[in-house]
Assembly symmetry: D2
Homo-oligomer: 140 residues x 4
Amino acid sequence: MASFINRRQMTIEWGQCDPAGIVFNSRFFEMFDTSTWMLFEKALGVKPHELSKTFGIIGIPLVDARANFLKPAKFGDVIEIASRVSEFHRSSFEIEHHVSINGELAVEGEETRVWAARDKTNPDKIGGVAIPSEVIGRFE
Amino acid sequence: MASFINRRQMTIEWGQCDPAGIVFNSRFFEMFDTSTWMLFEKALGVKPHELSKTFGIIGIPLVDARANFLKPAKFGDVIEIASRVSEFHRSSFEIEHHVSINGELAVEGEETRVWAARDKTNPDKIGGVAIPSEVIGRFE
Amino acid sequence: MASFINRRQMTIEWGQCDPAGIVFNSRFFEMFDTSTWMLFEKALGVKPHELSKTFGIIGIPLVDARANFLKPAKFGDVIEIASRVSEFHRSSFEIEHHVSINGELAVEGEETRVWAARDKTNPDKIGGVAIPSEVIGRFE
Amino acid sequence: MASFINRRQMTIEWGQCDPAGIVFNSRFFEMFDTSTWMLFEKALGVKPHELSKTFGIIGIPLVDARANFLKPAKFGDVIEIASRVSEFHRSSFEIEHHVSINGELAVEGEETRVWAARDKTNPDKIGGVAIPSEVIGRFE
């Protein structure tokens, strides 16, 4: 399992909360997306908007997202999101996001993403390509 | 499996799309939430904001959400979301959302929600309670 | 003043509301954006994603947005948004959005947008160009 | 003019951008809302979720919001938002938000908010009440 972890802290905003006074579910998926970009920036030393160019890919599109909501996060709560690649496959990978409040796990998120590039013979076709071993190495 | 299905059509908006020109993942979870409210309104004949009062619950909080992205939805695409309860448990239930574009499945979503009420002896405690059989019956 | 009006009805969603139980302000600006796209589609008979190509522009970027909140909109409220171009200038125009609930004005919005194209001699430069009179005519 | 300024820096996220690759307009109004909460927290030394209780108000509802978009903000851009109360009236006040990128002004925002409380004789009625002078003093 990749051991490189990105941690960030955020204070829950009014506009992220719903009439029950807690973070609306879709907002966590926004946070996960940003946490993944930050994880890659930290691990690879490449700015998010330069990731495609640097590695000759079109990006790291999301194919699957999941979240398990254990405890609500309220307006003003300070949360920590700890993110890491939990598994690398040949051309895809799994990211794990743990949201905690005061050290207690509040939300568990998971994303599956693809290391995607245009087909060399048919540029209209996009698909997963092998993740370079030097990329994988940066997460260890 | 509950056979009552709610279908709705939407046209993808500019503000729902990201720099890749496709719907940003969190937007689908917003759509699923609204589709679930609409499904319950249609099946039970109760307005969303009257659901709690009518059934003596605090709501139907989300405990788990998942989406599998098969095909991207682009600005201007007309999508159909078909939603139904795929399974009722004692105090929780699963909802399935199928997003299709021109009849082709684009996104599969799933939510797990709880039929939640305040504890009668300790109102600060919230937990799942048995889903009334007449509620379940309305989805058949 | 342009007399062509686009009207649409929406039911306020849970995820659009904040802990005060009312629509969070930014959501109205999302609605205005979509209402403007719909207004142009109806008036010009051109799909939003084909607007640029059809008229040789890069789009109708927003340069100014304003909203005046008179009455709150709550979860489940049915709102109507009536939108029209209130004024055409040489290369820019004003759009007026009136949000009403049960016939009562709730929010007044205004947008200023530019009919923008790439400079013919320097394609990196984007700026306003004269709005064709046949475009203006379609809003009367 | 109140001289207390709150400054914060943010990196533009993928999910905040639209198909033109720039921040979608409504996202700035989300940022302004959060910046106002932070400005009040810093000036008054009161956590946002304790503001109502501390001052016997229901909150500081927004009655008017405006933004002037001068330069686009792109994915990955580091922005600074500088916010201050530009004017206090008897029961309302104006907040000014300046968004800059590399020291250049990109967006000018303004909000008008009300210092709002429930009517003492009719709690269903909400309206503006005089802003305490000690509150105003904290912004100088």
